[in-house]
Amino acid sequence: MSKSTHIDTDNMEAIYHKPEAFTETPMRYCPGCTHGLAHRLVAEVIDELDIQHRTICIASVGCSVYAYEYFATDATQAAHGRAPAVATGIKRVRPDNIVFTYQGDGDLAAIGLAEVVHAAARAENFTVLFLNNAVFGMTQGQMAPTTLLGQKTTTTPQGRSIERGGYPLNVCEILATIPGVAYLARETMTSPKRVMHAKRSIRRAFEAQIQGLGFSLVELVSSCPTWWGLKPLEALKHIEEKMLPQYPLKVFVDKVSQASEAVAEGGD
């Protein structure tokens, strides 16, 4: 067994400690899975914006189904793909709460595509965290709509071909055509710098919501070391080399800054 050094931190200042918006529950993700990383960023943003007690998390169905156990906020667990509809229902009753969904690519891009697009079109004022790991993780590594061409999964044993599986779906590119979107970005978490970028986007997405600007979504190009059959670090490399060419990082829409500027210019 590994030894655990006991250090008394009472008289010390934290450079970093677990976010308040996070529970003590250990996360069930596989080692090195970026789901946990994304969770942490969201929790940090909730802390920074001081909105923990008015935030509602909508967990979806995928490996992150237990998100409600990890975020120390009110929470609802939504049916597979329907988190944006559930969020809509909640937000329409409770416009002052901060509502976010946390969805995988199977959940959001396969079964739940209509719900997320329509929520965007309605300019629903909530935030979506979209974890794209190009695979159905929870159900054992089947093809997702976002699976890369040639990528082997448990249901594309020869690799995804256009003929049998179609093209990868770029959700952000679709959503970027919709005027109800207030903030839209694709980020990844393959290095400390990328992680900081991702966090900034997540923060901006929440700010868009707080400012009532409409729909916000951050896609996080993520890893599934388990079903990719790669070590955690290799998986990050795979993102850089294979995923990003298909899913280039970009801030597609940012009305937050525009709003801020508008405020700055207009006074009041």
């Binding site: 069930r28 993700y29 596989c30 490996c63």
Partner: protein
């Protein structure tokens, strides 16, 4: 003959594989058999177990509330499952990882230092084979040769290089257990 076997361990310990190897061997021998996996609620790091029925008659229920033999590969499995053992049954315990036994009556507890033996053989991962070897020492439903053949059939291609190690595990387990049996 009707043997109801329950086998439990932590995720990575290979209880399922050991069960499948045994199932294959039993099938080859011409007995009837059923096997099914039970996943604990915890997705990762939870206990994994499987339940088997081995019989020369009709399998009937693949489910058993009181298995005649339970193989418990770590401390948590022992805590959670040893109680299941049928009256007069056997609990085969990996004593390398499980040190405390909950009180059970009318159960014969056989302790095998499975992990230590496996490490001794050069790879902790073969603990499951050590335990399986020990099991056929206690319940000779199949021979070690039959198990070895089954291993060859069941082991996925990419693990074929561990075949030898695994057979040595079976052997070591069988031996240890025969000793253990003698001891009791």
């Amino acid at each position: 003959m009707r043997e109801e076997l329950f086998m439990a361990g932590t995720g990575g310990q290979g209880a399922l594989l050991a069960g499948q190897v045994l199932t294959q061997a039993v099938l080859e021998k011409g007995l009837n058999v059923s096997w099914y996996p039970i996943y604990s609620p915890e997705v990762r790091g939870g206990t994994t177990s499987c339940a088997m029925v081995i019989t020369d008659g009709h399998v009937g229920s693949p489910i058993s509330g009181r298995p005649t033999t339970v193989i418990l590969m770590d401390a948590r499995s022992v805590q959670q499952h040893i109680e299941r053992t049928a009256a007069g049954g056997v609990a085969l315990v990996n004593a390398s990882l499980a040190h405390e036994m909950p009180p059970v009556s009318d159960v014969r507890i056989v302790e095998v230092t499975g992990t230590d033996i496996a490490i001794g053989l050069g790879n902790e991962r073969t603990t499951n084979m050590v335990m399986l070897g020990a099991y056929i020492g206690l319940r000779p439903v199949v021979t070690i040769e039959e198990l070895a053949r089954a291993l060859e059939a069941v082991l996925p291609e990419r693990h074929r290089r561990f075949l030898d190690l695994n057979i040595r595990g079976l052997q070591a387990g069988l031996e240890t257990c025969q000793e253990a049996t003698d001891d009791t």
